[in-house]
């Protein structure tokens, strides 16, 4: 998913009009909203969206300076490491393992509620999770739980078909034909 699409999805999640989202001459995502106010940079745009939004997710993301800082670092993480790392087999494995470990003791990335950090990492890792086989999904059980929980929220899936996290995967394999 490209940055422009991610910004638009997240804007929908927050119930904010995305405005005009495009890449500037530096290939950096920019957003021009209402009064011709322009913001450049993925993380900075997400912050501006949160400031305009009244949604619960947005409020959760700025309850304290500490939370704000953590949310910011995960958004940055999603851009610098998750999205590019998904394209390399070894890095992807490391990422999935690290996140899986993290979710062993947490339900959300920051604090105890859904924040922008979850959304940013969710949309960044979506393609990678989609490419996993059932066995692999089971290997990253905590990550899968977090992902499945998020994707079931209507504001997150936004009408896209849900990824399959059922653990009864054998029926899909044994089709009865000779392989």
């Amino acid at each position: 998913m490209c940055d422009v699409a991610k910004v638009q999805k997240i804007a929908h999640c927050l119930g904010v009009a995305p405005g005009k989202v495009q890449l500037n001459e530096e290939q950096v995502v920019t957003r021009t909203s209402g009064q011709n106010k322009s913001v450049a940079g993925f993380s900075t745009i997400l912050e501006s969206l949160a400031n305009e939004s009244k949604s619960e997710t947005a409020q959760n993301s700025k309850v304290s300076r500490e939370v704000e800082a953590q949310v910011y670092q995960w958004i940055e993480f999603s851009v610098l490491y998750v999205a590019p790392g998904s394209r390399d087999r070894n890095v992807a494995k490391q990422l999935l393992g690290d996140l899986n470990k993290l979710f062993a003791s947490k339900s959300y990335l920051v604090g105890h509620f859904i924040t922008l950090a979850d959304l940013a990492v969710y949309y960044a890792i979506y393609d990678l999770v989609k490419s996993l086989s059932p066995v692999e999904k089971e290997a990253y059980l905590n990550l899968s739980r977090w992902f499945d929980h998020l994707q079931n929220r209507p504001d997150v899936h936004q009408g896209e078909p849900l990824l399959n996290f059922t653990t009864i995967y054998l029926h899909g394999w044994a089709t009865g034909t000779h392989i």
């Binding site: 001459e25 530096e26 290939q27 950096v28 913001v39 450049a40 940079g41 993925f42 993380s43 900075t44 912050e47 501006s48 300076r65 500490e66 704000e68 800082a69 953590q70 910011y72 670092q73 940055e76 993480f77 851009v79 610098l80 490491y81 590019p84 790392g85 394209r87 390399d88 070894n90 890095v91 490391q94 990422l95 690290d98 034909t177 000779h178």
Partner: protein
């Protein structure tokens, strides 16, 4: 607060500065992420706040410590982490991660900073902010701005920030020289910032702002290196070496025998084959000759075997004629690529027959031949045993049942098939059923040779590439089995054994002896190479793709060990992985990829191809050919780096010193450059000694990069306008650069021979042998040497040109098919090509414009015609087949269904775009429905003939309606056709739906007791 970081991490500096400006006290802890103790750290540096919270993003920390400094500050903060830091990491990377594309990006980013600082004193306005700290701390380590020019505002800001007391205090604790961007590799487990893609900025070229190399490299040069560089930089007059007419190995000297896997004669080699075998072998051989070793490079075409017989049948020629035809093709392709074989032969020679037959007799008398009976299919009509590929039949695998499975493999289920297990086998030539007949075959007893082979492999495999070792070990682990070495064919070397006169040797028994027989064609004293006398060492280097490894590492050595006559065995197996084409496979049948003859047709010089293929050589892992990469390497490495350096050096010499190389009075600057050049030179020699051609290129380019950086920092063009002292400095600089250019010409020769020759001509110098024992740069052009006329060596490859080539060889079948269908366009294309060749030839042979100008105009004219013809060709053929008319007979419908099915299959095979094939699938489904209805009707008619008599009135009653529907249908079909020709799917899709609905109506009408059904039904009975 505590800062956890790793040694040398430049982002640690940023945190230290932020803390200092925020007036917080911090403690710095260095740690290593590989240590299991620290497995909870994801990214370094990490800041631990006093309340225990850990943050790993410098930007998040900056925002936390300096709460609100405005949106502009936030944007710059993000810019520094997302754009500047990755670009710096790419730029500073060394070794295989070095990225030549980073510099232009970085120049653009630096330009943006400079522009911003022209307007305001600090990045986010009038006051210093966290953004300034972030950006400054990234630019300071590795000396990014050292040697930069035209960045006055940025320099001013940089110095202002540096002078701040807080910064000075931090720098006292954390000296800049301890920091390096390479430390980012160890800052996380995700490969540092290496995977963050470099943004391709669409900004106009920012020009040259930063110096070409990271200047800190110079600080690492030791005094010993400087001394060695100075001592060796002297002039020795070159010795005239008489080139031998015939190269033979000599005792006490290094003798290198090089072979390239024999290309199979009727395959047109593609770029993967070329870099895998012949080109790699040639580059290595050229290096080996430069290094003064006795070198022999042998290759040829492999001509015997089933595939040739097959091809001969297909083209209605004799196998010999086929071989002659394709041998010429191979020869011309390799010649164009500048492959300098000492001998390029073929396996269909008398020498080959003699050597193979003698080898067989030796193996036989040594007791390594066993006879076994093998069941084979015999075609009685053709009177011959059928090779696997000559049999077809029904696939024996349960659940498949494909009717046209080949004797070796089923195309449908992809499984291997034993020809004897095919159900209902048939001869591919005459279609009669072959019978199973047992026939005696000869086997080589590999298990008997295995112990000696293992002993030899243990010693020899050190010199092999990793994949060769792995493949060989895998074979040995499974244990060797006897291998059949005879075949019931006609095209091959007859077996000299009683009872086997009608059989020939299997190609894999005879082909490796081709190396020997071709050497025999080269010299009568071939045995000096292949069975060297005691005291003479011959090293055998064999280049191949990995699929050929077992035959060179197991089968052939076993045969030679069995013969036991002191044959030269391979000491270095140089196996490459596969080269892909733009992330897919090369495919001749689908027209995907660049084949040997295509490379020539592109008009890109052979040397550029050689350079690119060598630098994309699949060493260690598969690599991909990509047009964009080709253009990028040509433009950034050949043109901007190498070509630019050499040309600047020579032009300076010509313009300012009257083409006379000035004297080099080396100061420390020169010695540092020479020491750096020597490092790369050693790397180059070490790489090429091991035939690591890719690394060799890297070192070569690094030398010219050092040269460019040196020239950029020394600025001889400024010195030339100064006083006498400065003019002397300029002379030294130019003298040294000219010498390095000459060194580069020598190093370039193995890769780009004709470019190197051009460069030697421009230098008015001769090639000097490389000293592999002592790889140090020497004075090649003494003071007073007169150089020739400099001229640019390389030309830019424009993106539009590359895009054109990309579509041309992308294998889109439709365009190719439509061109073929229009014979006129095909003819025109041929004419254009012929004319283009003519022009090229003329241009190379003469510089007189008046001679070639008329031909060029002719060419342009032809091209214009061709373009027009193509346009009409695309517009003319309707993309959909004429929709079937109503009231069809079952047979017609069956045919239509089959044709449509074929079309859908093709479409699905060629594209994944559902929108393309979906409409065709719909048509197919519709046709099938019609067919079913028609069949039902036919059956009904046949089953109840009495009913049919009653039917006609009903049918005729409908006839008017049917007619009307048919007319309507034809109109709609015409409409769809014209719409489709225009393209836009959203426009014609609804019309197609209408058409389908009409067809359904018609089918419903005619599918009932239709008149047509009756006749068919009878026929079927």
């Amino acid at each position: 607060m505590i800062i956890y970081t790793n040694e040398g991490n430049p982002l640690g500096l940023q945190l230290l500065m932020l803390a200092k400006f925020a007036k917080r006290s911090v403690q710095l802890v260095n740690l290593n992420l590989n240590d299991a103790k620290f497995k909870d750290f994801l990214i370094l540096p990490t800041l631990e706040l006093d309340n225990g919270l850990r943050l790993f993003s410098p930007a998040a920390i900056a925002k936390y410590l300096f709460v609100d400094e405005g949106q502009l500050r936030d944007e710059w903060l993000e810019w520094s982490t997302m754009l500047l830091a990755p670009a710096l990491a790419h730029h500073m990377a060394v070794g295989h991660r070095a990225d030549p594309n980073a510099l232009p990006v970085l120049n653009a980013l630096v330009k943006k900073l400079d522009d911003c600082l022209k307007a305001t004193p600090y990045l986010a306005g009038d006051k210093l902010s966290a953004a300034d700290i972030a950006v400054w701390s990234l630019l300071a380590p590795d000396g990014t701005l050292k040697g930069a020019q035209n960045l006055e505002s940025l320099h001013g800001w940089y110095n202002r920030v540096k002078a701040l007391p807080e910064v000075q205090q931090v720098l006292a604790e954390q000296p800049l020289k301890d920091l390096s961007f390479n430390a980012l590799q160890q800052s996380n487990r995700y490969g540092g910032l290496h995977h963050v893609p470099l943004k391709r900025l669409s900004l106009a070229d920012a020009g040259k702002l930063l110096a070409e190399t990271a200047s800190t490299v110079a600080d690492t040069v030791t005094d010993e290196e400087l001394a060695a560089a100075g001592a060796s930089f002297t002039y020795t007059a070159p010795k005239d070496v008489q080139e031998q007419r015939t190269v033979l190995p000599k005792a006490g000297e290094r003798n290198v025998l090089i072979t390239s896997a024999l290309p199979y004669v009727n395959n047109v080699p593609h770029l993967g084959n070329i870099i895998g075998c012949v080109l790699s072998a040639d580059i290595f051989a050229r290096y080996s000759r430069c290094a003064g070793y006795n070198t022999l490079l042998i290759c040829g075409t492999d001509e015997y075997g089933t595939a040739t017989e097959n091809k001969a049948l297909a083209e209605n020629m004799t196998p010999r004629e086929i071989c002659d035809k394709y041998f010429e093709l191979h020869n011309s392709i390799y010649r164009w690529f500048g492959i300098g074989f000492d001998y390029f032969g073929r396996t269909t020679t008398q020498e080959q027959t003699d050597i193979v037959q003698e080898a067989f007799k030796d193996v036989h008398s040594a007791g390594y031949i066993i006879t076994e009976s093998v069941e084979q299919l015999l075609c009685q009509k053709c009177d011959r045993f059928l090779a696997d590929r000559f049999v077809e039949g029904t696939c024996p695998h349960p659940g498949c049942g494909y009717a046209d499975a080949r004797g070796d493999q089923c195309d449908k289920c992809g499984k291997l098939v034993n020809a004897t297990e095919l159900i209902r086998p048939r001869c591919k030539v005459c279609n009669t059923a072959p019978i199973l007949r047992s026939s005696d075959q000869l086997f080589i007893d590999l298990p008997k040779a295995e112990p000696r082979l293992r002993e030899w492999v243990d010693k020899a495999e050190n010199g092999w590439t990793h994949n060769a070792k792995v493949i060989t070990r895998a074979w040995l682990r499974e244990g060797l089995k006897p291998r059949c070495i005879t075949r019931d064919l006609k095209w091959g070397i007859p077996v000299p054994h009683s009872g086997f006169e009608k059989k020939v040797f299997y190609v894999w028994f005879d082909a490796p002896f081709g190396y020997v027989s071709m050497t025999k064609r080269y010299t009568k004293e071939y045995q000096k190479w292949w069975q060297p006398a005691k005291g003479t060492d011959v090293e055998l280097f064999q280049f191949m793709a990995k699929d050929n490894v077992p035959f060179h590492s197991v089968v052939w050595p076993s045969v030679l060990l069995a013969i036991n006559k002191g044959h030269t065995l391979v000491s270095h197996i140089m196996a490459t992985e596969y080269l892909n084409y733009e992330d897919g496979k090369f495919s001749k049948s689908r027209g995907i990829g660049v084949f040997g003859n295509d490379a020539q047709a592109t008009g890109i010089p052979a040397d550029v191809w050689r350079f690119y293929l060598a630098s994309a050589r699949p060493e260690g892992q598969d690599s991909s050919f990509s047009w964009n990469d080709l253009a990028a390497r040509n433009n950034s490495e050949l043109l901007n780096n190498l070509g630019n350096f050499v040309n600047r050096a020579l032009v300076f010499c010509e313009k300012n010193f009257n083409s006379i190389v000035p004297e080099v009075v080396a100061t420390e600057e020169e010695l540092i450059l020479l020491a750096l050049v020597n490092r790369e030179l050693r790397g180059y020699i070490n790489s090429l000694e091991k035939a690591k051609l890719r690394d060799g290129i890297r070192h070569l380019l690094a030398i010219s990069r050092h040269g460019n950086g040196y020239m950029q920092t020394q600025q001889p063009w400024v010195l030339l306008k100064g006083n006498d002292e400065q003019k002397k400095r300029a002379a030294t600089i130019i003298g040294l650069c000219a010498n390095i250019a000459c060194l580069l010409a020598n190093l370039l020769f193995p890769y780009m021979p004709s470019t190197a020759r051009t460069l030697f001509a421009q230098l008015n110098a001769k090639q000097t042998p490389l000293n592999a024992e002592k790889p140090l740069a020497t004075l090649l052009l003494p003071a007073g040497h007169k150089i020739g006329k400099p001229a640019p060596l390389f030309a830019k490859l424009e993106q539009s040109f590359i895009d054109e080539l990309k579509t041309k060889y992308g294998g889109s079948q439709e365009t190719k098919a439509s061109v073929q269908s229009q014979s006129s366009t095909a003819d025109l294309e041929q004419a254009v090509q012929a004319q283009a060749d003519k022009v090229r030839q003329l241009k190379t042979s003469t510089k007189d414009k008046t001679v070639w100008q008329p031909e060029v105009s002719k060419l342009l004219d032809l091209k214009k015609q061709l373009e027009e013809a193509k346009k009409t060709a695309v517009a003319a053929p309707a993309s959909a087949p004429a929709p079937s008319n109503g009231g069809q007979s079952v047979q017609d419908l069956e045919k239509a269904v089959q044709a449509q099915g074929e079309k859908v299959r093709n479409l699905k095979g060629s594209t994944k775009d559902k929108t393309v094939w979906q409409p065709e699938v719909n048509v197919l489904l519709d046709l099938k429905k019609q067919l079913e209805a028609a069949q039902k009707a036919a059956k009904a008619a046949a089953a109840a003939p009495a009913a049919t008599t009653a039917a006609p009135p009903a049918a005729s009653a409908d006839a008017g309606q049917v007619k009307a529907l048919e007319d309507k249908l034809a109109q709609q079909a015409e409409k769809v056709r014209t719409l489709k020709a225009k393209g836009d799917a959203s426009v014609w899709k609804p019309e197609v739906d209408i058409l389908l609905a009409l067809k359904n109506q018609l089918a419903a009408l005619t599918g009932a007791p239709a008149a047509g059904g009756q006749g068919k039904g009878k026929k079927k009975k």
